[in-house]
């Protein structure tokens, strides 16, 4: 059954000393939605992700996930409720293999305790086998099938981004937060990523909230956009409407730009 308000954020504020990074953000994300969070650099987008995923405590406001208040919960608890994320500045476990990175994602839901892991009791062995199979599937899904034994730190930049997605998927999320998934990718990789993200939503039924600077990517992929500037929402709605919004144009291009005036000297 779909949930109309899988994620509800009410009046979220986050202050770092004198800096207000997020200033009264409210949004509702229904199950199965694909929403983009955009805005100029320093608008507070990643801070919103950090707040949602429990990496940073909000100064004020409430976050509800499936109607549970998760405000200020620890990151690992929020993850186990079904909210997984990737990082803007890739945070893979560099020394571990690609496969191990994904396997770590399964650990939070492992039901065998550490004694049965040490003694290799049947329950643990079966769980380990299941994890290995699922991890291989996930690597195939994101297109890293042949690279499972490669050290994560040695993968190409675009591949590292994909591995982060696979690792997040291993935690069996319902809501996926992707922080600039296309950053550092070439146009071809970006196109493949768009296909992947759409598949995650359509085939796995995930709800996705993503931050991205590649406007072409965002405008084509997302159904709804929320535009953030200086921690405040300045526009929201479907891509076509956001694109025309004068406030958004202003936020992106600086103060009121008079295009005619700029052309004048050359005329």
């Amino acid at each position: 059954m779909t949930h109309p308000g899988l994620l509800r954020v009410e009046g979220l504020v986050c202050r770092f000393g004198g800096l207000v990074a997020v200033d009264g953000l409210s949004l509702v994300l229904g199950q199965g939605q694909l929403m983009g969070l955009i805005g100029p650099n320093g608008a507070g987008k990643t801070t919103v992700f950090n707040l949602l995923a429990g990496a940073v405590r909000p100064t004020a406001g409430r976050i509800f996930y499936r109607d549970h208040d998760i405000t200020g919960h620890k990151a690992h608890r929020i993850n186990r409720l079904g909210l997984a994320r990737t990082f803007q500045n890739i945070r893979l476990f560099g020394e571990l293999s690609a496969l191990d990175n994904v396997l770590v994602g399964f650990h939070g839901r492992l039901e065998a305790n550490f004694l049965s892991a040490i003694l290799r009791l049947p329950g643990y062995v079966a769980a380990e086998r299941r994890m290995l199979d699922r991890a291989a599937e996930l690597l195939d899904l994101v297109g890293l099938g042949g690279l499972q034994d490669e050290r994560a730190g040695n993968l190409a930049y675009g591949q590292q981004r994909l591995l982060e997605i696979a690792r997040a998927l291993a935690t069996r999320p319902c809501l996926l937060l992707l922080d600039e998934p296309a950053a550092g990718m070439n146009p071809q990789e970006t196109a493949q990523l768009a296909v992947l993200v759409r598949r995650l939503r359509d085939e796995l039924g995930l709800t996705i909230l993503l931050i991205e600077h590649d406007m072409h990517f965002v405008m084509n992929l997302c159904e709804t956009l929320v535009v953030l500037d200086h921690g405040k929402v300045i526009a929201r709605g479907d891509p076509a409407r956001v694109r025309r919004d004068p406030g958004v144009v202003e936020a992106y291009l600086g103060a009121e730009v008079d295009l005619d005036a700029r052309e004048a000297p050359g005329a």
């Binding site: 997984a84 990082f87 893979l92 476990f93 839901r109 892991a117 643990y124 380990e128």
Partner: protein, 364 residues
């Protein structure tokens, strides 16, 4: 990659699943071979060699368990001397006979439960291990609130606190006088038997889902938390498991050297263990064993440089302390040419050895 590690790089290894049966067989054979070697040392070697081999076994236990928290989990902590002291004192207090204790505690009598009981070594060791584990558990709550350098400082402080307590709790530890007349019960089999158990448990732990989680915490704690791993409890797991084995090894150490006093458990003990695990390769369990053995015997082999020497007609008188100079030079060379330690973060494996032998064989 340094020249040395390139020399030992056999290229990509075959999949583990292909060679599991063969590798287990080789491991069993290897263990039997080592057991035979120990038996030979026990039968043929002099008392001194046997003593050193036993000590090497205990240091292997200490290094492997210390490496679990420092190398595998990446929590730079400096407290093993506290755990070893705790294990040594608890075991000795439980195994000494009441008569012996009455003779030892001349300034203040020993407090009640310890004064009247006398247990066998295995029971005492298990109790000592559990007491040490409990101590680590209680200590873990404040200690794991901090990370990095701060963690090192806090654990260092705890180590000192335990030593100071040992120095001053006259009615429990007999203060600076220490405990003497501890029965010499530790032999080569106790030490290496414990080493085998420790290796088995730690290797199984490290190669399980829990071990992956520990390594994930070492690599990036924030990401590990975001992937649903409760970093605090996993650090606690590594910490208590390592404390258990350090406590038991401490108990055996007391029964090997038969006299213990607080001065035995200073920061120097921790420092030596730190050298061992860094030289062995932080994070490498097999490297820790290798380095522990090298370290224990190396100190003895280096005695050669302190003896009068006749070098190409040049008479060099024996210089006491020269050993430590040479030792420092070796350490420096180690850090310059093999910064990752002997094995880096890798583990010894038969797959690796056989692949290496094939490559070297193919080239020759």
């Amino acid at each position: 990659m340094s020249r040395i590690s390139r020399w030992f790089d056999p290229g990509p290894l075959p999949a583990q699943s292909e060679s599991r049966g063969r590798d287990s067989g080789l491991t069993i054979l290897g263990c039997l071979g080592l057991a035979a070697l120990l038996w030979l040392i026990q039968a043929q070697g002099g008392g001194y060699v046997v003593h050193m081999t036993t000590l090497a076994g205990l240091f292997a236990v200490l290094a492997v368990s210390y490496n679990l928290i420092n190398g595998v989990t990446g929590q730079f902590s400096l407290e093993p001397n506290a755990f070893v002291a705790c294990g040594a004192y608890v075991t000795a207090l439980l195994t000494l006979s009441p008569a012996e204790k009455e003779m030892t505690f001349i300034l203040e009598p020993l407090i009640w439960p310890f004064a009247v009981i006398s247990l066998s070594l295995p029971v005492a060791l298990v109790i000592a291990g559990l007491v040490t584990t409990l101590m680590a558990f209680v200590m873990g709550f404040p200690v794991f609130r901090v990370r990095g350098d701060y963690l090192a400082i806090v654990t260092l402080g705890f180590g000192e606190v335990i030593r100071v307590i040992a120095n001053n709790a006259q009615s429990v530890t007999n203060g600076p006088l220490g405990l003497k007349g501890i029965p010499h019960l530790t032999n080569i089999w106790w030490a290496w038997g414990l080493a085998a158990v420790t290796l088995f448990v730690v290797m199984r732990l490290v190669n399980s889902s829990y071990g992956r989680a520990l390594k994930a915490i070492r690599e990036d704690e924030v990401a590990a938390e975001a992937m649903g791993i409760n970093a605090f409890w996993h650090k606690m797991l590594a910490f208590t498991v390592s404390a258990f084995f350090e406590g038991v090894a401490g108990g055996l150490l007391g029964h090997l050297i038969t006299t213990i006093s607080p001065s035995l458990f200073t920061f120097f003990l921790t420092f030596n263990l730190l050298i061992i695990i860094v030289v062995g390769g932080l994070g490498s369990t097999t490297g820790a064993v290798l380095a522990a053995v090298l370290f224990t015997f190396g100190g003895e082999w280096l005695r050669v440089v302190e003896e009068p020497l006749d070098l190409f007609g040049l008479d060099i008188p024996g210089i006491p302390g020269m050993r430590m100079v040479v030792f420092s030079l070796i350490l420096m060379a180690c850090m310059i040419f093999a910064r990752q330690g002997i094995l880096g973060k890798h583990e010894f494996s038969w797959r690796w050895l056989i692949a290496l032998a094939r490559r070297r064989g193919g080239r020759a």
